[in-house]
């Protein structure tokens, strides 16, 4: 024991850890492992449910291991045409909305990043104020409907096109670029559009990737705008499909319906959750670092 401590000692910075601190580190590791378990458990539980036979779910025997492996619910959902229509809608809405958002955010962030621009404080103020005060649900609804955007993709993609937080992150990034490059390009005869397209954007791939991810995830996950502005089922994104599924399954009327239907609902919900989450989980390991960097960038400079 004593020998072990002596060998370990030089590795730690500063003096040898006190006994109390060593105990703390053990406890800390256990606590953090607890956090991991608590975070992951719901995911594992849902996956296990989606693969289990209904009888076991109803009996309350499913935890993290599938019981009575059964793919019926997957097949059922896969054969539902409306599910796929809505899934495709989600993809289309996400792509279009992200594209619009990126263009608008990039343009405005670039303008805001020019310190010599007259009226810049005003332009920043216009955006910032909307972070703290908003028109509210009802006036927004009245506006969007009277613009004739109901039951169109525009109701989903336009009213939330610019996120002020993302705008500030991007502005901070543009401000960190060396201005000499742009000045040199201006001397060489490039105009503002040329500088933005040929000098600034190629240097900003990292931040644009981050912004694409931020926006894409938020549009992929959004449901309320579609829920509010779309009456036709074939226009809904998959999040609203899931919402209708869970709303239907918990309401009293369906509980009164035949028992089979209710039983199927539990597995079907689990399967829908799994299939809706899957794309996010699939890209998550690759994009996670981008997100973290983006948030920190915004925090340090924003």
């Amino acid at each position: 024991m004593t020998l072990g401590t002596k060998v370990d000692a030089p590795k730690t910075r500063g003096p040898v850890d006190s006994r109390g601190y060593r105990i703390f580190r053990v406890v800390n590791t256990v606590v953090l492992l607890g956090v991991v378990v608590v975070t992951l458990y719901p995911f594992l539980n849902i996956v296990a449910r989606s693969l289990s036979e209904e009888a076991y779910i109803i009996a309350g025997e499913v935890t993290v291991v599938p019981r009575g492996f059964d793919l019926t619910a997957y097949k059922l959902l896969m054969s539902d045409a409306m599910f796929w229509t809505n899934y495709r809608n989600t993809v289309v809405y996400t792509v279009v909305a992200t594209l619009i958002s990126i263009v608008l955010t990039t343009c405005y962030a670039y303008v805001l990043s020019k310190p010599q621009l007259k009226g810049r404080p005003f332009l920043i103020g216009v955006a910032l104020f909307t972070m703290f005060f908003s028109g509210g649900l009802i006036p927004n609804y009245v506006l969007v409907t009277s613009l004739g955007m109901k039951n169109t993709i525009w109701a989903v993609v336009i009213p939330n096109a610019i996120s002020v937080f993302n705008l500030l992150v991007m502005k901070a990034f543009f401000e960190s670029l060396p201005s000499e490059l742009e000045e040199a390009a201006a001397v060489d005869g490039l105009n503002t559009y040329g500088i933005l397209l040929r000098i600034v954007l190629p240097l900003s791939k990292a931040i644009i990737a981050t912004m694409v991810l931020f926006y894409a995830v938020s549009f992929w996950n959004s449901w309320f705008a579609a829920f509010l502005y779309m009456d036709r089922q074939d226009l809904l994104p998959v999040t609203v499909y899931l919402r209708n599924l869970i709303a239907g399954a918990t309401s009293a009327e369906s509980a009164a319906a035949d028992a089979d239907k209710v039983q199927a609902a539990a597995t079907l919900q689990a399967v829908t959750i799994v299939l809706t989450t899957l794309p996010i989980l699939a890209v998550y390991p690759f994009v996670q670092r981008f997100f973290v960097r983006g948030v920190m960038l915004g925090a340090v400079k924003g």
Binding site: P42, V126, F132, G136, I138, S146, A299
Partner: protein, 329 residues
Amino acid sequence: MTSTLRPPPPAPPRSPQAAQSPAPRSPRRGRSWRQALRRDWQLYSLAILPLLFFLVFRYLPMIGNIIAFRRFKPGGSIFGEYWVGLRYFRMFLNDPTFWEVFTNTLVLGTLTLLFCFPLPIVLALLLNEVRARRFKRFVQSVSYLPHFLSIVIVAAMVMQLTSIEGTANQIVSLFGGDPVAFLQKPEWFRTIYVSSEVWQTVGWGTILYLAALTTVDEDLYEAARIDGAGRLRQTWHVTLPGIRPTMVTLLILNIGSFLAVGFEKILLLYNPLTYPTADVVSTYLFRMGFQSSNFSYAAAIGLFEAVIGLILVLSANVISRRTVGTSLW
């Protein structure tokens, strides 16, 4: 009195003034809008579409709040038909349901602030003590994960976990209890709401704190150690003051969204049985607007909520600037 005679004696006292006075008079500052537009018109042109966006989809709805003071008929003018003054405001101030949902909002907002603000700090401090890099990164990656899920998915997961045959009831029966329909019980709603909120936001919340922790000066720890401070004291006297600006900034932001408690999540999770604890201002407003089609009344409630939110964030900002010296602007 000539220019050559004067400079020597008054030169020293003048120099600080001289440094100040010419600045405002410089030609740059006095440049007119016409010159600015001629020089930077391409830059301004890039701002047109985004400005139009803000004008139409952010500021027009603010003006649209005018229907809170006017009688609005669905399908009619978006600014309403005729003035009714403060009628709708008086209406909700005398509405017992309004005060019930207002109380619920305050309770849920307070609970959220109480748990969702400090827990990321605690988790970040714990993570900061981990020396095994891989383990640290693993815990972080896992804890961020719920942030990327749609509210709908989180709500669906909550429903599954709290259902009669779900995990929560498995635990209950493990201790010999009878299954509880958690989402039908008003007394459970706050617990369910806050814990799912914690589950989803805590990991993500640590990012900013972990970033702030890396900027704390190593020399301060060294000095504290020499003064005989243990780990706990180092955390208390060096780490926490070091991340105070970040803490204050996030606190102000949290306070600003205090009243806007998870509208979407509540809308997905609540039901008439849990209204007594789950119904908040924004969900009540939603029902008034879209189920009862009382748009002007709902707009009045929304305006009230937004103004209180603005007042909260402004005062939090002023207080923190006066006391801690950190503010958002």
